[in-house]
Amino acid sequence: MESSELKRSKDSANSHESTRKSSFPDEVLDRVLSLLKSHRDRSSVSIVCKDWYNAERLSRTHVFIGNCYSVSPEIVARRFPKIRSVTLKGKPRFSDFNLVPQNWGADIHAWLVVFAAKYPFLEELRLKRMAISDKSLEFLALSFPNFKALSLLSCDGFSTNGLAAIATHCKNLTELDIQENGIDDKGGGWLSCFPECFTSLEVLNFANLTSEINFDALERLVSRCKSMRVLKLNRSISLEQLQRLLVSSPQLAELGTGSFSQGLTFQQHEELERSLSNCKNIHTLSGLWEAMGIYLPALYPACAHLTFLNLSYAALQSGELAKLLTHCPQLRCLWVLDTVEDKGLEAIGLNCPLLEELRVFPADPFDEDIIHGVTEAGFVAVSFGCPRLHYVLYFCRQMTNAAVATIVQNCPDFTHFRLCIMNPGQPDYLTNEPMDEAFGAVVKTCTKLQRLSVSGLLTNLTFENIGRYAKNLETLSVAFAGSSDWGMQCVLGGCPKLRKLEIRDCPFGNAALLSGLEKYESMRSLWMSACNVTMNGCRLLAREMPRLNVEVMKEDGSDDSQADKVYVYRSIAGPRRDAPPSVLTL
């Protein structure tokens, strides 16, 4: 909608430029631009002409920075003077899996200092994979009187003391969303720091903290924040406590329960069921730690309008899941553990015709000899029942080419296909062939594919196909695959929309690395670890492409000439100055 408006404005502007000196009326342009929210649309607008560049930059209120080192806070502040909301992403994604050294960088503090000076009216800060200290959190809490929303995803470096500072000082806070972080949980006292007069909270997510909080303080907080729509509790909250919270917040739209395994009396169970059924707006449900099958029926009344169900902390069995799903006909998005096995996935295929996203996580990923979990059969069953499926993350221990071919035939609209066959380099277990055909089918059939993670035994053929067919691919993750440099060269030579390429443990060397010289400038970043790239190859890359930052992380005891981990990204801020000793900037 907004893009077509934009196109019409662009067209008329262009046709008038040639006949008149004066450009498109400012008021109209400003009005149109104020409707533009997507940062990609705004980027397009800014390159039309100088006037549009200025109009855009003066009207932008939200800035998204996908790599915090691609630009400096000073440059951002100079270009966009009116920012009220910032989204920043820091470390490479493989830091989630311990592949990046602890003190790598991506510290938010330097940004906060600039923001405090240039954006005193900052309202929102959303960080992903950044390092943030308690000191920074306190600085944040004290520097921005209008601060409303803090979201921390996969961040580290802070403790619950930092959260206490936020709770204490941010009088206008509407959102506190603390997810999946490496947080030092020193206790639940932070929640009691919200003042008694504080009523503005709409989003509270502390699901990943482990310590007990003061339940009375929480109950009072929830009951006085009448606009609360998202509440995600941690495991310390019992079923009984959950029921009390639900009574005072029937308006909730997203609920993350606490532990779902307390012994309840019949009456307590009834009360819980009643309170849940009073919450008519719940569309997202998560938590359910240690969910015991006998308590799941309490959820049934709340499931009628459920669109997102996150069961990835509940080790359900197939029968329990099947029963639950019969009550969730509107489900669009489902996350489960592989304890549900293929039978559970069959139940998904039977009960969730509207399903668009499925994530199956491994309950026991590090046990190589386990013979349970899900197989190709489960995935195929889902694909038959859920034709709208377009996002899948699937961890399994066996897969076949034929199964994947069937799956994409049933669901040709995949935008995100992330398949993890957990044993590295494992072939099709029936034919013993490489899994090339499988991913060939994926890229040939799924023309809308934006994100792909490959696994299993793969030769260069997979990468030839990716380069040739994956025209919309933006993110590619590769591990233990490929035969030689040619594979990576195919990807870099094809895939016109490639933005992020992350590779580990593949036989790609300097020839492959250097075949993407110009390509890297159109990408956000490249990660290569445990491949065959050498220091000299990296130095050559750095020399040829001055607008790229080429960073090498050395591991203890490795060969001096080997570039163990390489991270390459474009930047207008130049090489960073805060790298730790283990990270070499070339």
Binding site: L99, A315, D369, T534, S561
Partner: protein
């Protein structure tokens, strides 16, 4: 009776793990002096256009693409010939998970099983979720977390009492039923029988176990009750020194 095949197969580097099938048995990785195929010229525009496809079949060695002109000094580093790994170990014991099909069947997976330590960051499960995994009890409606721990319930989403046991140096693990044991004595004699270890040899082994938090501990350090409640899997390691 234990048969060990050593095929003198080398990896180009100790950290890059590559499927067995992709190997040229005669090379240690890349060597600029080995002209195994058309050489690549280094100019950025050349690399994509000359695109030699000689190694795309997958059955040839991994080193064909890496020749460079002499002017480009990218491979002046000497590569030390890395040590070889045993390709395949199999025993003729019953209760084996080896299906005796194709040798290749087991080889590509055997090379990645480095004795249960696992590869760093693989499978790609987020750290915090990894921690959660250890704390998730299995079991149905009539089983709570406590019972699961007591039975040493691992690996099955039901009330199983089987626990995985690995011996250092042996690629294939076994499963042992803990419910029939109530002391270290019976457990050790079963393990000795299972792995074919004699009384004298047993002294050179230590029994270790992984607890629910993922830490590896010595079985002899804890009382039986503690051991049986918290163990997830067992491993026999050779005691050194």
């Amino acid at each position: 009776m234990c048969m060990e095949l050593r095929l003198g197969l080398a990896l180009p580097s100790t950290s890059a793990i590559i499927p067995i099938k992709m190997f040229d048995l005669n090379s240690y990785g890349y060597d600029p002096r080995e002209a195994l195929g058309p050489l690549l010229k280094l100019g950025p525009c050349d690399i994509n256009s000359s695109g030699s496809r000689s190694s795309s079949s997958g059955s040839s060695g991994g080193s064909k693409k890496r020749g460079f002109d002499d002017e480009v000094l990218l491979f002046e580093e000497d590569r030390i010939a890395p040590k070889t790994l045993p390709l395949l170990l199999w025993t003729n014991q019953p209760n084996d998970e080896d299906d005796h099909k194709d040798l290749d069947d087991n080889s590509s997976s055997a090379i990645f099983k480095n004795d249960g330590e696992g590869l760093v960051g693989w499978p790609p499960v987020k750290t915090w979720r990894k921690k959660l995994c250890r704390q998730i009890p299995y079991g149905g409606a009539d089983n709570n977390g406590m019972e699961a721990a007591e039975k040493g319930c691992v690996g099955r989403a039901s009330n199983s009492t089987y626990v995985k046991v690995k011996m250092e140096g042996v690629a294939i693990a076994r499963k042992i039923d803990l419910s029939v044991h109530n002391s270290f004595e019976t457990l050790t004699s079963t393990l000795m029988r299972m792995f074919g270890i004699s009384d004298e040899n047993w002294k050179s082994f230590k029994l270790t176990y992984q607890d629910r938090e993922g830490d590896w501990l010595l079985a002899e350090d804890v009382p039986w009750r503690t051991f049986i409640r918290s163990l997830k899997c067992l491993k026999l390691i050779r005691s050194r020194g």
